[in-house]
Symmetry: none
Subunit: 228 residues, 4 copies
Amino acid sequence: MHRCPLTGTSSPADRAGPRSRTGRPRSAEADRAILDATRAALVELGWGKLTMGDVAARAGVAKTTLYRRWANKNELVLDAVAVLFDELELPDRGCLQADIEGVVLQFASLLARPETKTALMAVVAESTTDEALRVRIRAAVVERQKRLVVLGRERAQARGELPPDPAGEEGAAAAGRAVGLIFDVIAGAVVHRALVSAEPVDERWAQQFSALLLTGLAGLAEAGPAGA
Amino acid sequence: MHRCPLTGTSSPADRAGPRSRTGRPRSAEADRAILDATRAALVELGWGKLTMGDVAARAGVAKTTLYRRWANKNELVLDAVAVLFDELELPDRGCLQADIEGVVLQFASLLARPETKTALMAVVAESTTDEALRVRIRAAVVERQKRLVVLGRERAQARGELPPDPAGEEGAAAAGRAVGLIFDVIAGAVVHRALVSAEPVDERWAQQFSALLLTGLAGLAEAGPAGA
Amino acid sequence: MHRCPLTGTSSPADRAGPRSRTGRPRSAEADRAILDATRAALVELGWGKLTMGDVAARAGVAKTTLYRRWANKNELVLDAVAVLFDELELPDRGCLQADIEGVVLQFASLLARPETKTALMAVVAESTTDEALRVRIRAAVVERQKRLVVLGRERAQARGELPPDPAGEEGAAAAGRAVGLIFDVIAGAVVHRALVSAEPVDERWAQQFSALLLTGLAGLAEAGPAGA
Amino acid sequence: MHRCPLTGTSSPADRAGPRSRTGRPRSAEADRAILDATRAALVELGWGKLTMGDVAARAGVAKTTLYRRWANKNELVLDAVAVLFDELELPDRGCLQADIEGVVLQFASLLARPETKTALMAVVAESTTDEALRVRIRAAVVERQKRLVVLGRERAQARGELPPDPAGEEGAAAAGRAVGLIFDVIAGAVVHRALVSAEPVDERWAQQFSALLLTGLAGLAEAGPAGA
DNA sequence: CTGTAATCGAGACGGTACGTCGGGTCTTCAA
DNA sequence: TTGAAGACCCGACGTACCGTCTCGATTACAG
């Protein structure tokens, strides 16, 4: 296969290996048009009814141009949706609970967008039988969100709301595990409520959840050094 | 339309509307064979490559027979997978934390099965553009799991690990919200770790997660009566 | 391959082997609609621009229905055009030369029809690399025309314009060779003038050609018994 | 358009309109390589499966280079095949019948070559819907062969086997018609036997055909002055 | 010896058709 | 009425060629 894995930042037009020195170069504008068209098609049609031919037509591009860049619908849609996760930020709201509430609501509003909600689950579903896609998801989605957790934790430690990371190699590993745990709890709870339970993630829920998590974190911090 | 919505317990062969009194009765064996074939196909092919024709061939049945019982692929797969959730139980392990750990590991091992993991996410993805399917999912999956949370909570209250539900209509509502929250946190975290982060849900993770949740619940119980 | 060779008379719907006793039978109307549509498309578009999709659309039929009956464009077009050769007849014009002129003009007017002219050469061209097609052409076109030559010869013999076939096995072989030769001369000359030289096959040409052939036949008949 | 019609003798590299005095000149070697590659591809693949890209690759040349010289597949293939007709000659075998037999066998052996047989019919088929191609075929194939007929006739007249052309304008016209007729009969019969009837053009057939034609010509010569 | 102008290989591009596959329906015959 | 078989319509798939285009790099001739 001549396509190489997405690093999470490179544009697809770059991904033709070592950039062949000869021949007509790939059109960067086509890249942009295709991704825009993909998002538009997701909004209108949803994952299930989105077709490669339709995306090509919307982008004013030949189908071959799509397939030259992406091996299949999964990878195209993932790339199209991944950039939306760049919008997530962690504004400083003064205290940890407010920060958590903020990120929960922000994430929830991202999931409320039709292109995100329909695409994300579908791509995860496909990734259960497609190792390459699983790797791409980690790079394009998981890592992009995890850094928010890392940042929030550091900020809370700076404020004294959480104890500093334990020293040593083992301490770093424990901190890493904590970040992973927290990330799965936050993202998992929000996604599950929004898409599986199919109930609204509103202010009240965000507040209750944040309270639960905050207390839990405090307990974890106490027990952590000894327990883990 | 001659098909009626799945209640979550009835067998598909029962669902032929007013049950015609004449003609050849539907084969119950066909039902079983179809659902078995569906699960087998999910394991081998995953959701994306599973086809109705293939399921019919595996089951030794005509496609007509499938469509007489299920309106489409989504509903068939959902029914085929839903019964797996009946395996989930809540054995009494003596204390709340152990109970939580138990249910987490049990759910994780269910999600580790290829037919569950690929089908669940796919069906949820489809449900974002299919209201009927969303309803079916609630009945077949969400409610089936939620009762475990309810049961666990009652058991913990009986043991005195959690305060009893507040009285009154408003108290019942608050209790309901708490169940929903806890359910989304547990199921969401496990699903997210298993499928999105794609990392193992092992004893250590289950223990850490349970500790986090337990502390959180205690805090919630204290603040709950006043705060919510 | 599940398709069997054309016998020249059977309808394509019959050609599904031993006629499976089960399942929905093939639509005879679809057969007719497809062949009609093929001829119409040939007239409008010519061989080169005729597409399977377009034929299907004209016939109000799915592409799969075409492919279920014919393996490719060549075979479809051949079948569609072959029936036109049934129109050729040999009216008794009283003497051999007049009969020859008649058949020449008749064949020329058949070749003047756009569907015939574009299709015939194309199919012959393809047959140079497709043995199965070559067989089909013999059955559907060559044999259909050759019988006219046989008939004309018999009639001329009855009139005493040509000597009777020599007796014996060898005589029959010689007669067969003569028929083949005459056929290739007539059909070849007309096709070549019409399509390669691209000049009109009019009364004058037909008369000249018939005179040439008639004299040649007389000479052949004289020399034949001894020379061949 | 910068391409001019083929005269039948010019090399494609000459045909760049007013021949710009500046810039890099076209590679004559490329011309040769392309035509060779085209013939090779015809042999291996036949007309139907021959592709421009494949020819370019075989010739070690870019597709651009092909299209700079030939407008399309038809014209390229025609040019590639046309030169083969230059091989046809008319060796003096002493008498008219022998000359006819010679030319028939020679033409038959040319048609037996796979590149000729597949290309000739295909190009003729295309020419039924392409006027420009028809003109090209006349120049590249028809005229090239017709001169053999003219030559053979003159030789036979010199030998006294055929009467001399009648004098006057009308006589010249009649002679022209006779050449055309003879040409279509010879070429048509051979092509038809070889490609449509798909039977061998061997010595015996050639001899029988020549006898037929010779007698016919004699009769035509007698009747001609009066009848035409 | 420097510019101008055409060529060359390479390969991306917009199109059109291909032949196949899957979804879901319909038709026939047998049970 | 159900069930197996299989034809049907529809629409998308991913591929293959077409003929065009844009690159960077050559290669001639003109000044």
